[in-house]
């Protein structure tokens, strides 16, 4: 008798779980997903990924994409954790290497040209500066 009661309780709990899951389908599974996709398309991957994670630097990465050739090497310095983690996929196929891996004055790395551009009235090697809450770009 006790077992019959236990199986009923378990059955009710399982049905509650299924009902709760079903109730969340329209709002969470469908609407939120559609909203996320819409926001991603409207903002673009760079803004969406950085700003949704509370980080700045979308303009910096956008600038790198617009002002450097696709097949080049971009230097970075600062904190590799945080916003900079997104840089390799958001500016792909460009490669991202630390500034220390490239001797001063070098114009290429492993057969690929270093990214060189003009920024703020100055021309030089493009450098991404990472911090936990954003990315900035400089030329040096």
């Amino acid at each position: 008798m006790k077992r019959v009661g236990a199986t009923s309780v378990v059955l009710v709990l399982a049905l509650i779980h299924i009902g709760w899951g079903l109730a969340r389908v329209p709002g969470k599974v469908l609407s939120r997903r559609i909203g996320d996709v819409r926001a991603y398309r409207e903002q673009g991957p760079t803004r969406y990924l950085l700003e949704n994670n509370g980080m700045g630097g979308a303009e910096a990465l956008q600038w790198v994409r617009e002002h450097t050739p696709e097949h080049c090497v971009v230097l970075w310095t600062g904190d590799p954790k945080g916003a900079l983690e997104f840089a390799p996929s958001l500016i792909a196929p460009r490669l991202v290497i630390p500034i220390g891996a490239c001797p001063p004055g070098a114009q290429d790395y492993a057969g690929l040209p270093l990214a060189i551009a003009e920024h703020g009235g100055r021309r030089g090697r493009v450098l991404l500066i990472g911090s936990p809450d954003g990315i900035t770009v400089e030329v040096r």
Partner: protein
């Protein structure tokens, strides 16, 4: 219908395993993964005969329930397909680690490019297993829809869970109910980090662990071997999870299942560790022969000790005593080898480079356990997934126990031990942040196993409550 699903699932799993082995083999040989590899594996898998008998359903589900379940699953699959294909990954690890690799491999399906080979180049989690990125890249190159892999992973997990319960219980109602309960678990299907379409590999790993657990529940050695093989090639956690399954089967003492689990786990470990060594040494050293011998010795020790204990007329006390040693060995050996032959600062190295943290941080244990309660039962959006297994275990503990449920129960306890060790050994100082960002994804991995365990216990309870 069930027979057709069983055949299709077998072909799919075999395709993935053959493709995984072939692709990793190509990467190890420093050649490009050919585009024809996946279709070739699929053709071979379809031709391999599948000998299994599905018992006729002893209790059918009403047609309306079947239609409602099929419609619900179709909506979930459609939502995941839309979420997967509409954009690239919309969450952190999906974008920074998994997509980045899949993107490079889709451009050129080889590791012989600076992104993978040059350690100066910023490559997030360079030592992560490559099955998911290379699979996505291969499908992307031929069809442009590589991210369908995420939907496929969900379908595999759902099919394995339902078929295993049908084979075990013969009760369509239990199989349908548990399948729906699993598929509707919010943390798996919500558009959140670690969800099936998030771009992370946690969905595929969940599918692999569900297949392995389904193999245990259905007594299907091939599912068990293939599930563990694919798990190791999918995510770093696959190595200790495989060890947990082998240790659980060894402790319970099921010779046939032990052979399957050991072969699946160690075959993949050999490939994965060799690839990690290749990446860590920039392709200058080959570790495959040595790892092959090492894994063969480990496999012989596991299987040999089991046979020795069987010859001693199944001395349960001796097995339990030796079990502590075996469990420790099997849980630690994979991560330890990965840290030694792979990247010392990589995913396992970062955790194991200061083992004293395990003791010095023991005071964190209550907070870790509280985190498990918080995320498994409340904040993690798992519904009742993690409440039912302990309750059902309590209700069925005095009933005659079967090997399958014991294996799965022990394996899940060992998973929890691995998770606790990870939080104590972690280089991340902020425990609350680590729990928040990682624990829901770890729980995802075993969600299918948890529902299989609950359903098997419930079936046992129902059988015991019926008059003879």
């Amino acid at each position: 219908m069930s027979r057709w699903f069983d055949r299709a699932l077998f072909a799919l799993l075999l395709t993935l395993a053959m493709f995984g082995a072939g692709a990793i083999g190509c990467l190890l040989a420093h050649v490009a993964v050919p585009d024809w590899l996946l279709p070739a594996c699929a053709v071979v898998a379809v031709l391999v005969p599948r000998r299994t008998t599905l018992p006729p359903a002893s209790r059918s589900a009403p047609p309306r329930a079947r239609i409602a379940a099929a419609a619900t699953l179709a909506v979930l699959v459609a939502a995941l397909a839309y979420g997967s294909l509409a954009t690239a990954s919309r969450h952190w690890d999906g974008a920074v680690a998994w997509d980045a690799k899949a993107q490079r491999l889709a451009d050129a399906p080889t590791l012989e490019q600076p992104y993978f080979r040059d350690t100066n180049v910023f490559c997030h989690s360079r030592d992560y297993p490559l099955l998911q990125p290379v699979l996505i890249a291969t499908i992307e190159r031929s069809t442009g829809a590589g991210r369908l892999v995420f939907v496929l992973a969900f379908a595999i997990a759902v099919a394995a869970l339902g078929l295993a319960l049908l084979r075990r219980t013969g009760d369509e109602r239990i199989a349908l109910g548990a399948t729906l309960a699993f598929a509707l678990t919010p943390n798996l299907v919500n558009p959140t980090s670690g969800g099936f379409d998030s771009g992370y590999a946690d969905g595929l790993l969940c599918a692999c662990i569900t297949v392995a657990a389904a193999g245990v529940i259905a007594g299907d050695r091939i599912w068990l071997a293939l599930g563990l093989f694919l798990a190791v090639l999918t995510k770093p956690e696959g190595l200790p999870y495989g060890g947990a399954f082998v240790a659980a089967v060894w402790l319970v003492g099921d010779g046939g299942m032990l052979r399957a689990a050991t072969v699946g786990w160690l075959a993949a470990a050999t490939l994965q560790l060799s690839l990690q060594h290749d990446l860590a040494t920039n392709g200058t050293e080959r570790a495959l022969p040595l790892l092959l011998i090492g894994c063969a010795v480990l496999g012989a020790a596991v299987l040999g000790s089991d046979r020795w204990l069987v010859r001693r007329a199944g001395d349960a006390r001796l097995r339990t005593r030796l079990g502590l040693l075996m469990v420790a060995l099997l849980l630690v050996v994979g991560p330890l080898l990965a840290a030694c032959v792979g990247d010392v600062a990589g995913s396992f190295g970062a955790y194991l480079n200061a083992p004293s943290r395990l003791w010095s941080r023991l005071e964190r244990l209550p907070a870790v356990l509280a985190g498990f309660g918080e995320f498994a039962l409340w904040r993690g959006a798992f519904g009742l997934t993690w409440l039912l297994p302990p309750c059902l275990w309590l209700l069925t503990r005095r009933l005659p126990n079967d090997k399958a449920r014991r294996v799965l129960g022990v394996a899940m306890l060992l998973f929890v031990a691995v998770w606790i060790a990870a939080f104590l050994l972690s280089p991340i100082e902020d425990l609350q942040h680590h729990l928040r960002s990682t624990l829901p994804r770890l729980l995802d991995h075993a969600t299918g196993a948890a529902w299989l365990f609950s359903a098997a216990c419930w079936h046992r309870l129902c059988a015991a409550s019926q008059p003879h």
